[in-house]
């Protein structure tokens, strides 16, 4: 695998020396969102469809539901929390080296996405938040009565393999690299964090995802992603040692809870 990584890196660029430290991107203009709330009283079943297109290979969307108020807010389990990663595409890119941008540094992937979200038949008494990063042409169609959608500006951070001190390359829908760690802060009112080891297609290694109430083991073979949430401030961290091939470039996605 290391040889494969080296080959891809050499092929695409042929440079040297690893740089970069774990860093989170939080440019507000790239984060857009929506909140879905009840129009009537009491819980109700929710079903809807999210569609959108990616502006870049790092595009992602997180859908989650919160019940309660203030520090007692928690993830509403009746809703199926969701994450969409459009995945690597377009221009080749080598990271962990001094000249990471091989061709055009923009990475457009005009790939319309469709995702049916639901409360899985359960009645839901919560607000549903849809946070997107680098996604455009979003539509949210509600198939259940008694719910409405309004815009929301999420505070969110994404960390990509290439910003996390890793070495590797991505091209043609695939990342190849060696992962070490990634971290990002959560908001003061709480946040949801999602960590993903970049070895979905093939690879080996393991790690831990921390920042929430429990430390979650992650492993390339049995479960390379973990999700957790917390009602207070925290620092999300995906630590581990993994080498592999994957279709995604995001290794950590954090969405802050809104004020409330």
């Amino acid at each position: 695998m290391r040889r494969l990584t080296a080959m891809v890196a050499t092929l695409l660029c042929g440079v040297s020396a690893a740089v970069a430290v774990p860093a989170a991107r939080a440019e507000p203009g790239r984060a857009t969102g929506w909140v879905i709330t009840r129009t009537g009283r009491g819980p109700a079943v929710l079903k809807g469809k999210f569609t959108g297109s990616a502006n870049s290979a790092t595009a992602t969307a997180v859908l989650f539901a919160l019940s309660g108020r203030g520090r007692s807010r928690k993830l509403a389990n009746a809703f199926t929390t969701g994450r969409i990663d459009w995945g690597a595409d377009g221009s080749p890119r080598v990271y962990g080296v001094q000249s990471p941008c091989v061709a055009a540094c923009t990475d457009p992937v005009e790939t319309p996405a469709g995702y049916t979200f639901s409360s899985n038949g359960h009645k839901l008494d919560a607000a549903v938040y849809v946070a997107t990063w680098d996604v455009h042409n979003v539509t949210i169609d509600l198939m259940s009565p008694g719910w409405r959608v309004r815009p929301w500006t999420p505070s969110m951070r994404t960390v990509q393999s290439e910003d996390a001190g890793d070495a590797g390359a991505r091209a043609l829908h695939t990342t190849v690299g060696t992962f070490s760690a990634a971290e990002a802060p959560g908001g003061r009112y709480g946040s949801i964090g999602w960590g993903i080891l970049p070895c979905g297609t093939y690879g080996s290694g393991s790690g831990r995802f921390t920042g929430g109430p429990r430390a979650w083991p992650v492993d390339c073979e049995y479960g390379r992603s973990a999700l957790d949430y917390t009602a207070g401030a925290t620092r999300w961290r995906m630590s581990g040692d993994a080498t592999g091939v994957g279709a995604t470039v995001n290794v950590l996605v954090v969405v802050d809870y809104p004020v409330g």
Partner: protein, 169 residues
């Protein structure tokens, strides 16, 4: 007569209720304690050609379920549903049944069921085909059910991860 027959049945019913209730209390009361309660439930990922639909039967009071979609979106390479036990709880997967079913000339999908540290995999199948694996997957902080492929998933397909035998009182 019917009353004397009903008493033993009532005792059995109450005992069963007590045992299940005790197991729940043990599970809730002790942080991260593994209890020998199977992770009864079914997760399915289906795509009939109109888009994939994840579904699960786990109790939201004890489990939190999420879906991850990876790859090129119009044709994802992986759809993963994870149901994780509430904080302080873990279960076991003694009889996991994984089934992958493809139902079209070009359909293509693989299935994988994981209970934290062990997994079953049907491999990738195609055409009009079905594959099934069963096994003891041990402890379960979470149950993952995945539909995946080496190239994008091609519907129609269904992947089912079933830990059978919901207790009935």
């Amino acid at each position: 007569m019917s009353r004397t027959r009903g008493i033993p049945r009532l005792i059995v019913s109450m005992t069963t209720t007590l045992v299940v209730a005790t197991a729940s209390v043990v599970a809730i009361g002790t942080p991260a304690q593994a209890v020998d309660v199977p992770a009864y439930g079914v997760i399915t990922i289906t795509d009939d050609g109109t888009g994939f639909v994840p579904a699960w039967t786990y109790d939201p009071a004890l489990w939190s379920c999420s879906t991850e979609v990876e790859g090129q979106f119009n044709a994802p390479t992986a759809v993963i549903v994870t149901c994780r036990a509430s904080e302080g709880m873990s279960f076991i997967c003694p009889r996991m049944v994984l089934t992958t079913h493809t139902a079209g000339f070009v359909a293509r999908a693989g299935g994988r069921a994981t209970c934290t540290y062990d997994s079953l995999d049907t491999g990738i199948i195609s055409g009009f085909n079905a594959a099934q694996r069963t096994g003891d997957l041990g402890r379960a902080l979470w149950v993952k059910c995945a539909a995946y492929s080496d190239i994008p998933l091609i519907p129609p397909y269904t992947v089912t991860c079933n830990e059978p035998g919901l207790p009935t009182l």
